[in-house]
Amino acid sequence: MNWDSGLLLLILATSLLPGLVIFFLPEERVDIRTTLNMAGAVIKLVLVGVVIWGVLHGHQYETRLPLLPGGLDLVLHADAESVLFVTLSTVLWLVTTIYAIGYLEGSPHRSRFFGFFSLCVTATVGVALAGNLITFLLFYELLTLSTYPLIVHRGTEEARQAGRIYLRYTIAGGALLLVGTVWLYNVAGCVEFNHRGVLAWLDDSDREALTAIFVLLIAGLGVKAALVPLHGWLPRAMVAPAPVSALLHAVAIVKAGAFGIARVVDDVYGVEFAASLGVTGPLAVLAATTIIYGSLRALFQDNLKRRLAYSTVSQVSYIVLGIAIVGPIATIGGLVHLVHQGVMKITLFFCAGNLAETLGVHNISDMNGVGRRMPWTMAAFTIGALGMIGVPPLAGFISKWHLGLGALDAGQDWVVVILAGSSLLNAGYFLPVLYAAWFKAPPDAWPAERSYGRRETAWALLAPPVVTALLTLAVGLLASAPFSPLQWARFITTQEYAP
């Protein structure tokens, strides 16, 4: 096996192997566990750097292992789109690992937690690198299984209930996806992801079947992407520990769903072919409904993490919307939001975790004056929240700008109304939080305060949100710099819409 094809396997192995070793470590070996985790994350980052360089220079990275009879292979493939997602998950994994080490200090079952945590990242990276639907499906299911233990990690009745509901949704979704995949292989033969789609050459007689398959696939993926009405598990899953919620909402699950939809529309059906089937219009409407519905529900949540969860429901659909508006600029907006939403949402969840961990604050009604007690945390939160609303020059603005522009470009003016409405709603559910945190007087005592000396909280809890908040600023301000997510999304889009 040469270096190029081995590289992708190595990228998977850098989180898989530490994960497997960690399972067998005794609870008290914090040092080994931490070293393994960090080493894996850093090595993965370096390897991903190599792949980025390679892809830019037109290198082909591909690994192929026979998986099923009939020429179905397990294909790992690094193209521009997968690199985007891999980079996102690798960077955020590193940050979240640091956070999780600080967050879970001294709590039980840490070996189990970090083991599954690593498996979960392996699955996410596998989803990103999958070169055909069957490989995608394999890692997608692995993701379902490896996140379940994380969601129920606390073991309370509420957590287990959330876990059950999560499984009910995702396993049913996985089954739909499986049916869709098998059917597609039956109709179209061996299908591998390709920039221009691979189905356009099929007979007209298959169009009905293809439409049905599209519905199945999107329904299967929509469960994880939390499209309304398949979103029910997401707000409940926020009972998981904060680093898990952060990773789930920003990278792992919902993104795997959104990324899958991008793959199906762009690389299996091909954007233009999907549009000619007439399936992108309904998808766009579905996404728009989800955006508005999620925001509306978020308005009425008092629990901070629940509000953030509904905000995720809404924000992830921007990605889907961007893909479903057929047009290059909107596609850029959707893809870039994949990254931007991840960076912003992870910041917000880190901050929510910090408040809960340090002060015992879980509800927005308890957040009065919290900015004075934890200025750094709340500064990060503010950047994340403003970014979500779409205030220039933060990350969210870049995505919304492109989405709006793309919609106008594609002649779908109604989308702009949705975007404006949603931004208003975003402001409606984030600004009161910010106001309360900064301008209201703090209470005499916090619900459950822990003292960290002169610092506002442990450094491992503080550094990650600050770093991701800075990232939020950076990807917005430096959007035109080379290697920014925006430029990369443009790079992808030129491949898909090339004449």
């Binding site: 998986l67 009939g70 692995l142 129920v152 073991g155 996985g174 059917w183 039956n186």
Partner: protein, 470 residues
């Protein structure tokens, strides 16, 4: 050799009961080596035929090994070795003296069955298999086990009897019991139809296909864990294997109607077994009903009938064998550790046996058919065949069955994640019992990543080449 060695082991264990354990283990290893040797021979030189005592087919006893038999032998060897290692930790000395001869005898019967080249020999070996299995069920002692064993005995005899009647009819009509010769001579006639009916009914009863499954859960659940593992994983394979041989080689052309009937029964088994499993409150009963469901899948291959479907069903069978053995072993560990297998009170036990729980979960993943696992590969092939032949309702059954499996597996696994406090007391479950379960479950999962080799194996001797294959 693969037959004689365990038989020799039986004698030795029987003669020196005090040493039964080490002797049994050595025999088990020996059998594995023999099977590996045979495997090498078959892979290198193609299907093997061996006339016992030098007498040819019509007169003497022929042994025949092609890819299909080899696959069965190998699975039996792997699971058998696992069961042997597990049992060496499970049974006390007194029971061991009885267990080992019986178990080796059962193993010998299984190997002989997979190698038989005529339908009468198949009958003999099936009968031997049944008898040793019944004795093993009774090993647990107690009223429950005895009742279950008794019922099992009756069912087993009844099944064999039906089968024997079928054999007699065929012999009477065509003057031979050799599979190859019969395949040449058989032509549609009322006698053949009656034979097919009788033999199928007998074998369906023994394979515990819905609605003839009633005897299986109590028998499998009340036996000691290693015995449950061998019953659920290996013994059920035997009758399905015979059915497959008959169907593929002797009656290749008889009608889609019967195939559809088998498919219907299979589908009913998948759903009924899944629902029943979900309703159980005892772990071993849950696993036993899951066997009913898993066996149902196999029968979905009959209406589909393409070679792809057959291979898928066999792949499912193999991964079922590995996974189910692992599951019963895991249940045995839990039972041993906590003294009960009530699912609702499982948390305190399960958290202290992480390896066992992992084994159960991995095996469960294969049963659900989630990728990557042997169960997924098999299910994928069946799904593909179902859609290919345009019979989408079987695909629906497969999916529903998978969902039910997920429901009952996670019903158990969910209990591992509770805040029940962990106390550090010494585990009384020997490490090898935990590891055997884990390794077998792992094998079931890994089977999904290394598909080409077992599938290539199946093509040796072209068991799917003739007649019905598509």
């Amino acid at each position: 050799m693969a037959i004689l060695l365990p038989l020799a082991g039986v004698l030795v264990c029987f003669l020196w009961p005090r040493r039964a354990k080490p002797l049994g283990l050595v025999t088990a290893l020996g059998v594995v080596v023999c099977v590996a040797g045979l495997g090498w021979q078959v892979v290198e030189q193609g299907a093997q035929r061996y006339a016992v005592g030098g007498w040819g087919a019509p007169l003497g006893i022929d042994l025949y090994a092609d890819g299909l038999s080899l696959l069965m032998l190998m699975v039996t060897a792997v699971v058998g070795l696992g069961i042997s290692v597990y049992s060496s930790g499970y049974f006390g000395r007194k029971t061991a003296a009885v267990f080992w001869p019986l178990w080796l005898f059962l193993w010998a019967a299984l190997n002989a069955l997979f190698l038989s080249a005529d339908i009468f020999n198949l009958y003999v070996t099936l009968e031997l298999l049944g008898l040793s299995a019944v004795a093993l069920v009774a090993l647990a002692g107690g009223a429950d086990a005895l009742t279950a064993a008794m019922r099992y005995l009756l069912v087993s005899l009844l099944g064999s009897l039906f089968y024997l009647l079928g054999v007699a009819l065929l012999y009477h009509s065509f003057g031979s019991v050799d599979i190859v010769i019969l395949a040449e001579r058989v032509e549609p006639s009322p006698a053949v139809w009656a034979a097919v009916g009788l033999m199928s009914a007998g074998l369906l009863l023994k394979t515990a296909v819905f609605p003839l499954h009633f005897w299986l859960p109590p028998a499998h659940a009340s036996a000691p864990a290693p015995v449950s593992a061998m019953l659920s994983a290996l013994v059920v394979m035997a009758s399905f294997y015979i059915l497959l041989r008959l169907w593929l080689e002797i009656f290749p052309l008889n009608g889609a109607a019967l195939g559809q009937l088998f498919g219907l029964l299979g589908a009913a088994a998948v759903l009924w077994g899944g629902i029943q499993a979900l309703r159980q409150t005892r772990l071993k009963l849950l696993i036993a009903y899951s066997t009913v469901a898993q066996l149902g899948y196999l029968f979905l291959a009959f209406p589909l009938g393409t070679s792809f479907a057959w291979k898928g069903a066999l792949y499912l069978l193999v991964s079922h064998a590995l996974a189910k053995a692992a599951m019963f072993m895991a249940a045995g560990n839990i039972l041993r550790f906590g003294g009960h297998d009530r699912i609702a009170d499982l948390d305190r036990v399960a958290q202290r046996l992480p390896l066992t729980l992992t084994a159960f979960t991995l095996a469960g993943i294969s049963s659900m058919g989630l990728p990557p696992s042997g169960g997924f590969t098999g299910k994928w092939m069946l799904l593909d065949a179902a859609l290919y032949t345009g019979q989408w309702w079987w695909a629906l059954t497969l999916i529903l069955g998978g969902l039910l499996a997920a429901a009952y597996v996670f019903k158990v696994v969910g209990y591992a994640f509770t805040p029940a406090e962990v106390t550090h007391e010494a585990s009384v479950v020997p490490a090898r019992m935990e590891w055997t379960a884990l390794l077998l479950a792992l094998a079931a999962v890994l089977l999904g990543l290394f598909t080409p080799w077992p599938l290539a194996l199946l093509d040796i001797g072209f068991p799917f080449g003739g007649g019905y294959a598509g």
